[in-house]
């Protein structure tokens, strides 16, 4: 069984982004870019399934600019067998990415597609579910545990108020939550090995997908600032402030 894993190149999670002064977006020139953390978990899970012998091949896919090749190399250093880049300089929204992935699913026929639950840049949380819908596949989002047996996967999901376990027939889509696994550190030998792995490049046109954005960003603003309040010297003062100034208790 093949597994397809989608990886997105995003601003590194340690970078605090700044809004551009013309309010056209956030400034991502010269900031560190990395693989979306949830996608790293997705790659790790796919590689673990391969190590367990459940999966034969792990294919990493990224959609976006040429530099996404670096993100794919990272995925291959974690253990993905090969990479596919759908290269375009256009702004890609989740629906477009889901359509590109759907075209690759048709081509590669994977048993599972694993994606991060959301990207930490646009915070959309859409692509996996959209791909599942487009491919008429069942979905298990926000996964914290995955077990594959036969043609079914049992997935524990993080939901409001606790955990839920569902069983899905493959082919299926899984999106990862934070506690599914802890991605391994990539080693230098594996980084070197990843450089030699196969990486194919397509254009959206090659896959017959129209990626035109549906949603236009009119402006991007700084959020309203919350200013620091005061420091209180002791618990008694704190209680007094809460009771008599803030009146919240």
């Amino acid at each position: 069984m093949k597994v397809l894993v989608a990886v997105k190149r995003v601003v590194d999670y340690n970078v605090k982004v700044r809004v551009k002064s013309d309010n056209s977006g956030v400034d991502i020139a010269n900031v560190k870019m990395s693989m979306n953390p949830f996608d790293e978990i997705a790659v790790e899970e796919a590689v673990r399934l391969k190590e367990k012998g459940v999966v034969t091949e792990v294919i990493a896919v990224s959609c976006g600019v040429a530099q996404c090749q670096e993100t794919l190399r990272t995925a291959m250093a974690i253990g993905a067998d090969r990479g596919i880049l759908v290269e375009t300089a256009e702004e890609l929204q989740p629906l477009a990415v889901a359509k590109l992935l759907k075209a690759l699913v048709d081509k590669e026929q994977p048993g599972l597609v694993i994606l991060g639950k959301q990207a930490i840049d646009d915070d959309c949380n859409q692509t996996g579910q959209m791909l599942a819908a487009l491919g008429d596949m069942p979905q298990a989002t926000f996964a914290s545990k995955v077990e594959v047996a036969g043609d079914k996967a049992s997935v524990t999901r993080e939901v409001d108020g606790g955990l839920e376990t569902i069983s899905i027939s493959m082919p299926a889509v899984i999106t990862t939550d934070l506690r599914l696994n802890e991605p391994r550190y990539v080693t230098l030998p594996n980084i070197m090995k990843a450089k030699k792995k196969q990486l194919d490049v397509f254009k959206p046109e090659d896959l017959g997908v129209d990626v035109a954005p549906r949603i236009k960003t009119l402006k991007v603003m700084e959020p309203a600032k919350r200013s620091a309040g005061i420091k209180v010297p002791d618990v008694a003062t704190l209680v007094d402030k809460l009771k008599n100034v803030a009146k919240v208790i």
């Binding site: 956030v26 949830f38 989740p94 629906l95 639950k117 959301q118 646009d122 915070d123 949380n125 859409q126 692509t127 579910q129 959209m130 599942a132 819908a133 487009l134 069942p138 979905q139 298990a140 926000f142 049992s154 999901r157 993080e158 939901v159 409001d160 108020g161 606790g162 955990l163 839920e164 376990t165 569902i166 899905i168 027939s169 299926a172 939550d177 934070l178 506690r179 954005p213 549906r214 949603i215 236009k216 991007v220 603003m221 700084e222 959020p223 919350r226 620091a228 309040g229 005061i230 420091k231 209180v232 002791d234 618990v235 704190l238 209680v239 402030k241 809460l242 803030a246 919240v248 208790i249």
Partner: protein, 310 residues
């Protein structure tokens, strides 16, 4: 122009998140209908009909809808979607699970996590963990939206008198099935609906200490308990208690952060709280930059003292 709100419910009652979503739908300016898709959910449908501002409730009832499997709920929404210009889900685990399936089948983009309605096609939503607010405009015929519930007040749960219409339940997709659920049992208020939240961080050091220190404070204040991602990752607290960008987004009247340093991703989940108290022994902790009242102290001393003083 008519909006459809997909109700969050447990078949017996309507969850609070539905009420905030109704307010967002009303802000669009259209008629508001509510879909209650469930099993033996008559009581929930009746409760939905009482929500102020709702003109019609569509009640679809069947075993396929009992546990809210995404495939079946999405099919249910799609069966009636052609009647609507806007389809709104609360941005809960359920809403986020189903909404993109509906959008993709309709071939429209989705607008996630809106915090404000500017016009029927223009919305505001946080990006980069709330470090920027984007104003976005959709050119699609149908707007599929998830609503960040802290961005909108709750609609009154009584006072409405909507008609209740029944709809045939969607057939089961046959591709997914429910196995089980581990619900965290608690007498405390639900995290996203609580007026007061006391939250613990990595400084608690262990799950025993977490409970020992945080529970008495929560009991005293009648508060819900939250946790930072660090505390959850370390196993001190259950994962559904996580407050932050990738956990729960909360905005209570009072948020008490104990031993939480205040990473960006945590602040993204709680900075809209009305009053924030931070108890931390590190004077440089970023949490103090958003706290209304900061107490620089060892939480193992200060929190029990606070419990005693309340």
């Amino acid at each position: 122009m008519t909006s459809l709100v997909i109700a969050e419910h447990d078949n017996a009652s309507i969850k609070g998140a539905t009420l905030n979503t109704v307010t967002a739908a009303a802000a669009i300016g259209a008629d508001v209908h509510v879909l209650v898709a469930g099993h033996n959910a008559g009581a929930a449908a009746a409760a939905a009909a009482q929500i102020a501002g709702v003109s019609k409730v569509i009640h679809a009832d069947g075993a396929s809808l009992e546990v809210g499997l995404a495939e079946n709920v999405a099919a249910q929404v799609l069966a009636i979607a052609s009647n609507y210009t806007h389809i709104l889900f609360p941005a809960t685990a359920n809403g986020k699970n189903v909404a993109p399936r509906v959008a993709a089948k309709l071939d429209v983009g989705q607008i996630s996590d809106i915090t404000k309605v500017d016009s029927p096609d223009t919305f505001e939503r946080p990006i980069y963990a709330g470090n920027a607010i984007a104003t976005v405009q959709s050119s699609d015929a149908v707007k599929v939206i998830t609503v960040r519930t802290t961005g909108f007040d709750a609609a009154a749960s009584t006072g409405g008198s909507a008609t209740v219409e029944t709809a045939a339940a969607a057939t089961d997709s046959g591709k997914s099935s429910f196995v089980g659920r581990e619900v965290t049992k608690s007498d405390r208020p639900e995290l996203t609906a609580a007026k007061i939240i006391v939250s613990g961080g990595r400084a608690l050091g262990s799950s025993e200490k977490f409970d020992e220190v945080m529970i008495p404070l929560a009991d005293k204040l009648g508060a819900a308990i939250g946790a930072s991602r660090a505390a959850v990752d370390a196993g001190y607290a259950a994962n559904d208690l996580q407050v932050g960008q990738t956990g729960k987004i909360v905005a209570p009247q009072l948020y008490v952060a104990c031993g939480i340093s205040g990473a960006i991703q945590h602040l993204a989940g709680m900075k809209d709280s009305k009053v924030i108290v931070a108890i931390n022994k590190d004077p440089e902790a970023p949490i103090f930059s958003v706290a209304d009242f900061g107490l620089e102290a060892d939480l193992f001393v200060a929190v029990p003292e606070l419990v005693a003083a309340l």
